[in-house]
């Protein structure tokens, strides 16, 4: 049978998906064990025991200086920044995207500006943000927004503009005004796309978050990774990276699930 025609069942696919991950873990353990056999105090590839020990302190023992449980405080601070940035970007993408996509005069006036902002590498603006907003939370959230909002706006505007012309005309023959067209025809049809845009922006949003935290912060997942890097503390860095990956994957799954549940019409009517 040709490979393109080979159907993989759900349970089988879960099993097959686990194989490369398990292999990678085994490979890591083998190499780490080998290094530790040669040098018992090796820091580059820590063994699981060392990771548990290092993380135990961060997870359950309050920090001597601040009295906080650092791992949870880091997670909370990072997620707060991430969600604020994502929320502001999503709302502005919806609002600006609808206006740009549906109203030709608005597109003519602001389309070029949005494109211009979108092509600036956001990290290049980070110094400006630090100068303008100081080193606090605002600058970090602003970096996320500047990093992902222009892309999302363009995506939403493009999607609205690509709605079939026939639908826009039909709505007008049914008596719809511009406002009614926007809230009853364009807005609901763009929502599934908006969730998709948030999903695609999650990756870049994490990049900008970690970058901002690495440069100037006193708490956060990115801050912690870059802090312990100075001591070659791979036993903290690796669990943190795994934790970030897990958070990102869960967010992604939630978004996919929401999209399917909330907009059955966009998925062939199936729930």
């Amino acid at each position: 049978m040709r490979w393109v025609n080979r159907h993989v069942s759900r349970s089988r696919s879960a099993m097959m998906g686990a194989i490369p991950i398990v292999l990678l873990v085994v490979l890591y353990l083998v190499i780490a064990a080998e290094r530790h056999a040669a040098n018992p105090s090796d820091k580059i590839l820590p063994l699981p025991g060392a990771m548990v020990e290092a993380m135990w302190g961060l997870l359950f023992v309050p920090d001597q200086l601040s009295g906080r449980l650092l791992f949870w405080a880091d997670t909370l601070a990072s997620l707060q920044r991430l969600f604020l940035g994502l929320g502001i970007s999503t709302l502005s993408a919806l609002l600006v995207g609808l206006l740009l996509g549906l109203l030709p005069p608005v597109r003519a006036t602001f389309g070029t500006l949005v494109t211009g902002i979108a092509v600036i590498p956001p990290i290049a603006l980070l110094p400006i943000l630090f100068i303008a907003f100081g080193l606090g939370e605002t600058a970090k959230v602003a970096l996320i927004v500047i990093g992902i909002a222009p892309f999302m706006i363009r995506d939403i505007a493009g999607h609205v503009a690509a709605l079939p012309r026939e639908q826009i005309l039909k709505a007008q023959t049914l008596g719809a005004s511009t406002w009614q067209l926007m809230i009853r025809v364009a807005l609901p049809q763009v929502l599934p796309r908006l969730i998709e845009a948030v999903r695609l922006s999650l990756g870049p949003a994490w990049v900008f978050l970690i970058s901002a935290e690495a440069i100037a912060a006193d708490i956060g997942l990115g801050y912690r990774i870059f802090l312990v890097r100075r001591y070659l503390a791979m036993d903290v860095i690796l669990p943190y990276v795994a934790w970030i990956a897990l958070l990102a994957a869960v967010l992604d799954m939630i978004l996919v699930w929401t999209n399917r549940k909330a907009f059955p019409w966009a998925h062939g009517g199936r729930r």
Binding site: P164, Q172, T173, L174, G175, A176, S177, I183, V185, G269
Partner: protein, 272 residues
């Protein structure tokens, strides 16, 4: 029968390409006008003019003796070949949309008694087009024929002065198309509609219409073919009572052919 829609010396040009030239037409109330012609002869341009999607380059279009604004409005309903229903609304929601827009300018949503009434009206309209069972389905769950039924119901709930059909049955298979012919003829009679239908199917044009317009280029410059536009080359009234003759074979019907000023004759058995 009074004049509902009239075209007075209408020209459509895109740049230096002339699409339609010297269109003079009067469409009477209650007429079912089929528009046929080869591809690129401006059939769809004519429909876009009537819809208000486009303004003529020259000339005037009058609806009820009032010049037509170059914008779509609720006095003209339309059914396209594709994409004329809203995928995010159920069949019922699609039909209610027109009522909601009229009664609730700010939110385009109705509540309470107004909503119940709109629901009933929409449900009755859906029953009329044979979609009673599919009332709560989304368009993606419907076949092509059902979607076109829905598009017709959606347009008719606004009681438009004119119903414009742009190859509405072009994508349907022959059996379904026949059902749709019966449906549109029944609705046309029951609702006393005025219909303009653009079609590629000559049989369909003669079967349904009370008048068949043929658009074509009537002169040709080999060096600048784009400089001559299409005009109405045949305007054929069909004096038949549609309610009775629908099931009969069209080829056996005597056609009363009124050639245009060009004096060309039409081969009615092997229509163009």
């Amino acid at each position: 029968m009074t004049a509902l829609l009239s075209f007075k010396d209408v020209w459509v040009e895109y740049g230096d390409k002339i699409v339609l030239e010297r269109i003079n037409l009067t469409i009477e109330e209650g007429a079912f006008v089929s528009v046929i012609g080869p591809s690129g002869a401006g059939k769809s341009s004519l429909l876009r003019l009537a819809l208000g999607q486009e303004a003529p380059t020259r000339g005037t279009i009058l609806l009820d003796d009032i010049p037509l604004a170059p914008e779509c409005g609720p006095d003209r309903g339309v059914v396209f070949q594709h994409y004329s229903v809203f995928p995010h609304l159920t069949a019922l929601g699609n039909v209610m949309f027109g009522l909601e827009c009229a009664q609730s300018p700010l939110l385009a949503k109705l509540t309470g008694a107004a909503r119940r009434q709109a629901r009933e009206e929409a449900a009755a309209m859906l029953e009329e087009v044979g979609l009673k069972e599919a009332m709560h389905s989304y368009p993606a769950q419907m076949s092509g024929g059902m979607q076109q039924r829905l598009a017709i119901a959606q347009a008719l709930i606004k009681r438009p002065r004119i119903l414009l059909l742009d190859e509405p049955f072009g994508a349907l298979d022959p059996g379904i198309r026949n059902d749709m012919h019966q449906l549109i003829t029944r609705l046309w009679t029951d609702y006393k509609l005025t219909v303009i239908m653009v079609t590629h199917d000559i049989g369909e044009a003669f079967k349904l219409g009370t008048r068949v317009l043929t658009l074509d280029k009537w002169r040709h410059d080999p060096h600048a073919p784009h400089r001559y536009g299409a005009k109405v080359v045949y305007d054929i009234p069909l004096e038949r009572n549609k309610q009775e003759s629908l099931s009969q074979d069209d080829a056996t019907q005597p056609l009363s052919i009124v050639p245009d000023d060009a004096g060309i004759t039409i081969d009615r058995f092997d229509n163009n």
